[in-house]
Amino acid sequence: MSRAWLWLGVAVSLLLPMTASSQSMTLCRAKPELLELGNPLLAARKSIAERRKLRIIALGSSSTSGYGVSNPVFAYPAQLKMGLDKALPGIDVDVINRGIGGQDVEEMSARLRGELQENPASLVVWQTGTNAAIRQMPLDKFTRWLRDGLALGKSLGADFVLMNLQYVPAVVAAPDKEAYEKIMAAAAKEYDAGLFRRFDIMHGWYQDGMPYAQFVQLDGLHLNDFGQKCIGKLLTKSILNSLNGP
């Protein structure tokens, strides 16, 4: 009998901290230094000043396309558009979602020229690296495709912000994740692109005690509603920091 009570106690104590994941954005935080892109986004500034217009292409894979979110509006590109609309009244802001699930640098570099010709943009947010890390794309190939893409994009006159890997179980389990991150940081520096450090930001959430279920879908890979909204919000803040900075 006492044993039954013991088990009941264990079960209840396991169940006690159970809460439903909140959608409240009060949990959405990042250290201020993680919201510095390290780039003044001159082409974007110029477009805003001269044409009262800011067109952004969100180039990426499933996180960009908004896989599995309960409403396409929660995907970070839509959140970015809503955030910038609010912060830049009178400016015609357009965010074009060009996320295609399953792709990584190779396919994205290949379609970059077409995307920019179809929608001439002054800023490209390039979300990449996650699928490469999970599938163990050889590092030299990753480097080459990424640099080719950045070189091409820069030559077409757009600013770039690289968004690196997401901190989720599938990526954390990948052995070389830091290597991909380093390659992205180095390429950003060399090609004068901004870097949105999604990995470090999300790692911060985890270290603050936020469980994966709060920001990751149950597949262990994709951002859920909260994760997407929060990344959209923080990306908006970072881009505004850059536009308003020195």
Partner: protein
């Protein structure tokens, strides 16, 4: 001939009961912030209510149409299956309209700017006319409207597999597994809207659950052959469920998560839902095996009055699914209106389930010509089954 056991098996109460349960789970899990979803399978392992629903759908499809084919011939059975596909399609389109109307109503009538911002688009925004066309083609399916299109595609292909699954269930399982493997390997999927999107529930992969159910129904009592391994299989199933529960709970407790070795993470993630990861299939099979052992079809408790509402919901699965999906959106709006208070989550969950049950009873009453009694021994029309 293996047709005999299928025909003889009659109506298995477990099918309605567990399908009803799956429908309740789907409703509860579709409310994004809902503490009640801790009562569903989702948080304790890899698979969720979708697997239960699809498996039972495959199982009941054989039960319902094998006998019809035997009696009236293939053509007649195929025609009846397509009549059912048409019903599903009509239900889906109606649900799409009702669902969109609810979104619009919430945005306009309640005048909640935050809601308008979050809910107005749903993908309809940029090009509503094309979105309507794509919805009619099942290529555009807003939030949570993914399950019925999957079911429609699976059932539309079913007449062509039905003769085979009755004669050679093992052959069908083999072909189904091959298609599943090829789909995962070569990344096949059906096209969706907007461009470059794919089906959230990939029918080419999820057919493996449907035909798993169909083959089990076709095998019927022959499944007892597996009973010689009942103990080792049960032990394996229990071990696997414990492992899955540990991993699933680790998503909620970081200290547990840190106990998961890196190599395990490397092995299991990502646990894909679109192409139903093999871990999900195995998790469902383990669950199903244990349920088969623990809940024999003739268990008296299955017929307890306490479970009657579940059985009713399972019998009226199409209607209840549609109502559940519709109500999940209402529940989401209400919960966010009350700032996600736990009380509001519990109240809307209970209220939703009550509405679903009431609808199931009304529908049963209609079907019975307005005189549905207790009806435990009643045999509903076979068509209504899948």
């Amino acid at each position: 001939m293996t047709v005999q056991p299928v025909i003889a098996s009659g109506r298995d109460v477990r099918l309605d009961l567990f399908r009803g349960l799956a429908l309740w789970f789907i409703f509860v899990d579709h409310v994004p912030t809902n503490i009640v979803s801790w009562l569903t399978v989702r948080n304790y392992g890899f698979s969720d209510a979708t697997e239960i629903f699809v498996f039972i759908s495959g199982y009941t499809a054989v039960i319902a149409y094998a006998r019809m084919m035997e009696r009236d011939g293939w053509l007649r059975a195929a025609a009846r299956i397509y009549r059912r596909v048409w019903q599903l399609y009509v239900a889906h389109i109606l649900l799409f309209v009702a669902f969109s109307a609810q979104v619009v109503w919430v945005s306009i009538a309640r005048d909640m700017p935050s809601l308008i911002e979050e809910m107005e688009l749903m993908g309809l925004g940029q090009n509503p006319y094309q979105a309507i066309l794509e919805a009619a083609l099942l290529k555009f399916r807003p939030v949570n409207l993914d399950v019925l299109p999957l079911y429609i595609v699976l059932l539309a292909a079913f007449p062509f597999v039905l003769p085979a699954v009755i004669r050679w269930p093992f052959g069908v399982i083999a072909v189904s597994l091959l298609l599943y493997a090829a789909t995962c390997r070569y990344d096949w999927n059906l096209p969706a809207y907007p461009e470059n999107k794919v089906w959230y529930f990939n029918p080419l992969a999820w057919q493996v659950v449907f035909y798993g159910g169909a083959a089990c129904a076709s095998l019927g009592p022959q499944l007892a052959w597996l009973d010689r391994f009942r103990r080792p299989l049960a032990a394996l199933a229990v071990l696997y469920l414990i492992f899955a529960a540990f991993i699933a709970l680790s998503w909620h407790y970081n200290p547990l998560e840190q106990l998961v070795p890196a190599w395990v993470g490397r092995l299991i993630y990502p646990i894909d839902k679109t192409n139903i990861d093999i871990l999900r299939v195995l998790h469902f099979l383990a669950l199903a095996w244990l349920v088969r052992l623990l809940v024999p079809a003739d268990s008296p408790f299955l017929r307890w009055h306490l479970f009657a509402p579940l059985r009713r919901c399972g019998e009226q699965s199409l209607l209840i699914f549609c109502i559940g999906t519709f109500l999940a959106l209402s529940a989401q709006v209400i919960v966010s209106h009350f700032e996600e208070s736990v009380l509001s989550q519990i109240v809307v969950s209970v209220a939703g389930v009550v509405v679903m049950c009431a609808a199931a009873y009304v529908a049963t009453w209609f079907k019975g010509g307005g005189s549905a009694g207790q009806g435990t021994g009643r045999t509903p029309s076979v068509e209504a089954v899948p």
